[in-house]
Amino acid sequence: MSAADTVETALALSTQQVLFAGHAIEIRTNSPQVARCAQQYFNPIQHVESNPTASRASITIHVRDTDELCDNAPFFRARGHFALARFTRGDSFWLNLRTREIVGECSAELADDSRRWRAHIFPALLGILSAAIDVAPVHAACLVREGRGILLAGHSGAGKSTLTIAMARRGYALLADDWTYLSATEDSGARADVQAWGLPVPVKLLPDADAFFGELLAFRTDCSLNGEIAYEVWPEECFGISRSLRSAVSSVVLLERASKQGCSMIPIARGKAVAHLQAEIEPLEGTLAECYKRQLDLIQHAVEGAPCYRFSFNDHPDRVAETLDRALASVS
């Protein structure tokens, strides 16, 4: 039998508290690089006014000497209230969702790769953790104008990211291009105010998007976490667009590719939008069943009072964005 090498993860040198979707999370690490990266990544979120009482969760990251490969090799499994996430051949991130604790170890090379932490590791870990801290990640982009948040929901390939960038170039602030995190601002009961939150992640655009957005040609495509070749660019840097960090949900638009050229927007029942968003949440069972139920409730509450539409489109992104912008202005 091989002897196990037990790592005591309490030897963290740096501890900081950050905010994710309004919830305080403690990050501990023995790596100055990871600490710095976390500080830079979460800094914008910390500027949001909030009064976190105690950490809802903790992330402990131990960097160790290893010569294991740092190539892209994502592996994710979950069972019961545990999950394991690996991003390369030399790292492991363990989640106990009951105790809301993440414990990870990685190589110094990965610790130094701030792009991976910002684009893949932090968002993925926080996404898996979401259910345990009463955050509902919805598969939708979110744009904000004058304090009004617009959720653009659609299945993969519906054109969310492309339309989101086209809309952001028309003056909307970008909250999220793919995943928006819904969270109650206070735990005071069923009528808590539900807000949409974003993470400062890069925008992912498929290679053909450079036909619409010439700015992309200054960047290179790369292998994204799910293996797709895509541009992953920081929208502030690439497009000069601004970010918003949170917003109430003022309307929901379900995106749908049309077979005929043109665009049209019709009102739909709120229940349809809620059902669409809820269907994208991973059903959780056993000890996590209550977490799943609260996620569904969060979606229900977030959309309450928000008019909902179906927007069908088949045209150049700029024309689609212009039509959607006008349609939203006419109904607001």
Partner: protein
């Protein structure tokens, strides 16, 4: 999931909801352990690893473990070094890239995945090693913790 970042919830890419139709109840170091799994070979391996089989699985147990199979996985189970990471509430064991087990030290609930060759027809020595590593490390850890508590 972020989990949503790489898959759509409908497809269960983290294989969280794999059905585990087989169940065994064992006595191990004075503790009743129930194991749910999707391969009877895991239950056989548990027996070969030193857990004593007991009567009906629906009887009360102190620890509840779920072990799902990673059929035809790429990681070899038989020669994988076991690495353990512990924090206050959990013990995490990594036995190769695709084999792992996590134990909640407060509740006794545990879960993990074991790599089983696709053509597994008569048991797998890797499964026995997995169960041995698992029990060895849990016993070691709990022994260390008890020793620490006694000293303090």
């Amino acid at each position: 999931m972020a989990s949503h970042l790489f898959f759509h919830s409908q497809t269960d890419m983290m294989q969280r909801r794999t059905l585990l139709p087989f169940c065994g109840r064992f006595l191990w170091r004075g503790t009743y352990v129930s194991i749910r799994t999707d391969s009877q070979f895991v239950l056989l391996a548990a027996e070969q690893a030193g857990l004593l089989p007991q009567a009906a699985c629906d009887s009360e147990s102190d620890m509840h473990w779920e072990i799902a199979c990673e059929w035809g996985g790429t990681a070899s189970g038989s020669d994988s070094m076991c690495r353990a990471i512990a924090d206050v509430h959990s013990l995490f064991l990594s036995m190769g890239r695709e084999q792992w087990f996590a134990l909640d030290l407060e509740t006794g609930d545990g879960a993990g995945f074991i790599v089983v060759p696709q053509d597994d027809a008569c048991g797998d020595p890797g499964a026995v090693k997995y169960l041995r590593d698992l029990t060895h490390n849990i016993a070691n850890f709990m022994g260390n913790e008890m020793g620490r508590n006694e000293r303090s």
